[in-house]
Amino acid sequence: MKRFGIGGIFIGFLITIAFVAAYWVLNNSAKQELTDTSIDSLNTVINNKFTSLSQYLNRRDNDADNLHNLITEFVDQRKIELKTLPSEVLREYSLHHQLQNIYIFNTSGMLIAKAFENVGSYTALIDQLFFSNFQDVYRHEALNTLSPKLSPAFPSLKVLYENGVNDNELINKRLIFYITPLIVEHKLIGLTVFADEVSQLELLRYEDNIFANSGRVMFVETEGEDAYTLLRDPENNAKQKILKTSLADKAGLIPKSLSQPSGMLRSEIFQGESLLAQWRFIPALKQNMLVTIPELNSFELLGLYNSIIVFYVISVIVIGLVFAWYSTNSFNKSILAVQQRLFNAVDHLDEEDNTSDNYKKLGQAVSVVEKRIEHDNEVLLSAKQRLRFFMKELEDQRFAFDQHCIIVVADADGTFTDANSQFSHISGYARSELIGSSFRRFGGDYQNERIMKDILDTMAEGQIWQGELSLIKRSGERYWLETTFVPFINEDGSLRNMVAIHTDITEQKLAYSDMIHQAQYDTLTGLPNRALLMDRLGQLLRNARRNKSFVAVLFIDLDDFKKVNDTLGHEFGDELLIEVGRRLKGVIREQDTVGRLGGDEFLLLLSDTEYRDDVEIVARKVIESVRVPITVDEYELVVGASIGISMFPDDGINESEILRNADSAMYNAKRIGRNTWSYFTEEMNKEVARRLEIESWMNDAIDRGEFSVLFQPIVSVNSGKFATVEALVRWTHPDGGTISPDEFIPIAEHSGYIIPISKFVLEQSLDLAQAWKKKFGSELIVAINASPRQFRDPDWHGGIEEQLAKRGLTTRNIEFEITEGVLISGNENVERALQEFSEQGIAIAMDDFGTGYSSLSYLRNYPFDTLKIDRSFVSDIVEDHGDFELVSAAIAMAHGLGLQVVAEGVETHEQFELLFQRRCDYAQGYLFSKPVTGNEILRMGGSLPNYSKIRQQHQPVGQSEHSKSFY
């Protein structure tokens, strides 16, 4: 009896231990499984990010290749000096490939071309960066390895940290540069730089929602003894922050993760949380990527991320828990029985002959048993608590899971055995209707035999099926689900049932198709946009090449559209564009394409047009249809169109060439008289080449002293004296000879060289004014032509003040001459700048009056002091009475507005006589003096050497009352 009792206790004890052990094993294996799953998830994140880096590099590699080929091709064709080449090429390339942020630097670090639209807040820094030794470093490295380079993100986390930058925007707009040496004909020409915002790269994109917000991706950069970590701000999930960690201390997540190139840490405490962390250093970017997940924060964190595995883990745990519940309950019963038996035995002992020895032994045994029971009870209690905790958590998880996912359970044949409320909700069928029905009932892809077969086959193999399904609601609407099918397999390997977990992706799907449309069609007119046009043109050219057929491209630009927009407003302009688009659509055949390139530029693509006559018919139709008056609101408007035509294969062999040449032809059409069309000719290419040649010469022209400034007196008609001279820039190139301002000024304007040229002119002019003042003690006014681009130059004003102050001059020494072109350029800065000049005392002249729109409203609305009548009118006033009347009217009108009048291009005594009669205030021209050097002006000292002769021939008819001087 005694033996049995003690033996029973031990057996009971063993069973207890076994079950507790079983529970722990199960629990731990679940834990292990969770950990493994976590590791898998971390791996997946890192893996995806690396794949994206590889894709990015391949893409940029290709981009750089394409661009370099284009440049080489261009150089071969145009025989142009390379060092200043490709702003045109680059612009075209970037538009075509929709890459916006490209820079080309020459070997000395000068930016020679760029195409960018928006590289965020750091745009202004890029130029500086590459002018500095940054460029040197990369050029050196490029030569050092003959390979492309990827720069680390710029600015560095250290810089951001030290400047207290914690704005998400600024952090996400950090840039990385893909830098390739530009090699043409075995010469290093410079560097091509693609700038990309880190937020555009999946690799570096800061992720705030991995593993249901509990995971983190951190990026660590080291500088010196410190590490800077970019991570989600624990206090504000939507924000990022930068953490500085000293590496002198070797403990902690960050230093540990930097001590090895890659690795994993478990149970690492970071910011009060126990983490599982995995990392990999990215040598290309010189930063460490750390991905972390809270350790065993159970299912929630994984649930949304990897629902399938969670399902599996949940079922394992449920089985384990049920088993453990059951066994602990039955154990409790058995242990009570053992206790009872023991007490019985002790009672029994009292009655019998009890030797103290036996009693003692039994007493010890009892106390041991008691202790063990006590201990076992504690273990059980804690096990129970844990079980309860897990059960609760399971229920919560299940609830959370149901909230997010659309879940269906089906048997092996595809008959629904269960579905959650989310599925009823989205499908429109009640749960009771669903259960017992076949998948096939629910339309869409569930009726697609091929897809269903694929799913069922995959299930039968015990594999997981993932894909997108498109289904039909009860209401007939279509919806899309991202779907994962998971098979549950019997022990014999056969399929028991399957679970389908869906996520509704209908919105993304619809948004995506919208996006595709938006990416290819112009939102205003609904016509194909540039990208689609280029695509179609490429397609047409490929077909034409195959069939040896022809393609014609008509580049259409509306005449004076800008004027319409400026005078009647953008809405009006938009309406006009829509109407023109509609009309263009009406004139083309079905197989042709019409699209809008942007602004007021349209493109027609005509295939299979062998004869020029055919093309001309279309061109004529276009002009006629556009010309029909367009009524918008109460306005009726007639617009013209200029058309440039280029044809494949005669005028070019690829899209960009054809388009470029059509563009050139269009400009020609505008020049020869608008509202007409022009074919592309090689001449036009020569013009382009000449333009580029001049642009390339301009690069060093200032440094080499090729520019000079001449001055032409503006003479008072009454006194014959002058106190104003107009500054005129001249350029003599060592090879190209004298290049006329008419030719180079527009190019300088276009390329931006006008800014340094204007600065040079200003300095020369003020030098003269200073010398004049020194010599004569009086003020000389220099009239300087202002260019449209200067109005966009933020340094312009400051520069003028500085130059004046340096020489002890005042704003009265300057007069700016402005053409109507500047006013209608639509630049909003112009009005403000003119106002400011006027307030500062700088005089403003309207230049070349009569050649443009000669709009009175401009004269009224802007603070002009002087009106300069264009030489083309002055030259004919003697012969052409009409011109004489016009000039007279202009003078009268100007005087009426309180302006003084200068007649330009006065060459003969007769002209002078007439101007004198009409009380013109000032005259300028060869009759008095050609443009001369500053020294010559100083020599003249305000009096004209030949003026007495002029006066002798023409005695003024009475002294004018109107004898204002400039002061």
Binding site: A18, A21, A22, V25, L26, S29, N43, I46, N47, F50, T51, L53, S54, L57, D65, H140, L143, N144, T145, L146, S147, P148, K149, L150, T180, P181, I183, H186, K187, L188, Q260, P261, S262, R280, F281, P283, A284
Partner: protein, 398 residues
């Protein structure tokens, strides 16, 4: 309690191949590499193996003959069914077996620096490419010695292609190649070299000579004594017994004399394994790292399957003896620093220049397109009658 029983039943060993020359002219170079490979495997086994399995190397002797390499590679892959082979030294050998690994989807882990101009999803190149080694070293040398270089090399694929890359680089820099000579592998005369150097008076000499030609080369350079030499394929072995009488520089991604305790430990461990006086070459270090990289990939993929291993390779890195070794994102090449060392009077290499950063591996220098490079490589192959080297000088058997 089945769940309590330990899974301690013996799992079968996992076979891997080792294929290097243990006899013939390449044996001197390749035997230490085999030892390094074995040492790495033994270390892994001592720590419990991979995925619970012990790694068992199957070693074949390639006998310094490409045809033998081809035969044994075929045997390893097709008959022994290994998924990975650690092997090859010369580029000629690698190029010969490459198609075998590709058609059978097996992995070759290749431990030697090489010229690049090649890509294979079935080779893990643990050594540096030309763009990580010769090209930066040339930039250094031109600044150090001058812009006029004479190039001399053995007439097989590595020197030929390396020279071609250097040609492009020199042209870009506007420097001058004053003369260029190739000698068949094994040539001991180097006839005309001395005269051509004296005539052209280069600022320095780039040597890609391999194997026994180096002995004669050193002799000649000792006589001339003043010309600096930058060599890619010379080690301390060639100087055993003689000290260089001229400025002799070598470039590589590893030297045993590099500083650091980690390196000292590695050198000691290797000497303890391979022998007291052995020289620890870059290929030895790379071979050791190659095994570790592969093992890391197996662990990370939790699979020996070749496709699983290949899929994770881009994420793999190991701590090398000096620099951390990262597999590049393409999963084929590895990141390296370049080092330049000079032979001192005792015939030991002393570090003189260390590259500032790990360099991105690129197979194809940007001076030409991939197609152009491949075309050049193909033409070379055809020119040699479909071999990867010019006819070598046969040592006459007495």
């Amino acid at each position: 309690m089945p769940m309590l029983s330990a899974c301690s039943s013996e799992k079968p060993v996992y076979n891997v191949g080792i294929l290097h020359s243990l006899t013939g002219t390449m044996a001197v170079s390749e035997s230490p590499v085999v030892l390094a490979t074995q040492m790495a495997i033994e270390e892994i086994n001592a720590q419990g193996g991979l995925l619970g399995r012990q790694i068992q190397p199957i070693i074949y002797d390639g006998q310094s003959d490409e045809n033998v390499f081809y035969r044994f590679a075929n045997k390893l892959i097709r008959e022994q069914n290994v998924s990975v082979v650690f092997g090859c030294w010369t580029s000629a050998c690698r190029k010969t077996v490459k198609p075998l690994f590709e058609t059978n989807n097996s992995l070759l882990v290749y431990p030697v620096h090489f010229e690049g101009l090649e890509q294979s999803k079935n080779i893990l190149y643990v050594g540096a490419t030309a763009s990580q080694q010769v090209v930066p070293a040339m930039t250094w040398a031109r600044e150090e010695f001058g812009q006029r270089v004479l190039m001399v090399g053995s007439d097989y694929v590595y020197p030929r292609l390396t020279h071609e890359i250097v040609h492009d680089q020199i042209e870009l820099l506007g420097d001058e190649i004053v003369d260029e000579l190739f000698y068949p592998l094994g040539d001991q005369t180097l006839s005309g070299l001395k005269e051509r150097i004296v005539t052209s008076k280069p600022d320095f000499i780039l040597s890609t000579l391999n194997g026994s030609s180096n002995f004669k080369f050193i002799e000649i350079m000792n006589e001339l004594s003043i010309y600096p030499v930058l060599a890619t394929s010379i080690s301390e072995e060639e100087f055993t017994g003689s000290t260089p009488q001229f400025p002799m520089y070598v470039t590589n991604s590893y030297f045993e004399s590099l500083p650091g305790t980690k390196n000292a430990q590695f050198v000691d461990a290797y000497r303890a394994y391979a022998g007291k006086d052995v020289i620890v070459s870059a290929a030895v270090e790379a071979a050791y790292n190659g095994v570790k990289l592969w093992a890391q990939a197996v662990k990370s993929a939790n699979s020996f399957q070749i496709n699983d291993v290949k899929a994770v390779l881009p994420l793999i890195s190991v701590e090398g003896a000096v620099d951390s070794i990262y597999v590049d994102i393409n999963g084929q090449l590895t990141w390296h620093k370049y080092y330049i060392a000079k032979f001192d009077n005792s015939g030991k290499l002393r570090l003189v220049k260390e590259g500032s950063d790990l360099l991105l591996p690129t197979s194809y220098p940007i001076t030409r397109t991939v197609q152009e490079w491949n075309l050049f490589v193909d033409q070379l192959y055809q020119q040699w009658q479909n071999r990867w080297e010019a006819t070598p000088v046969i040592e006459v058997q007495q």
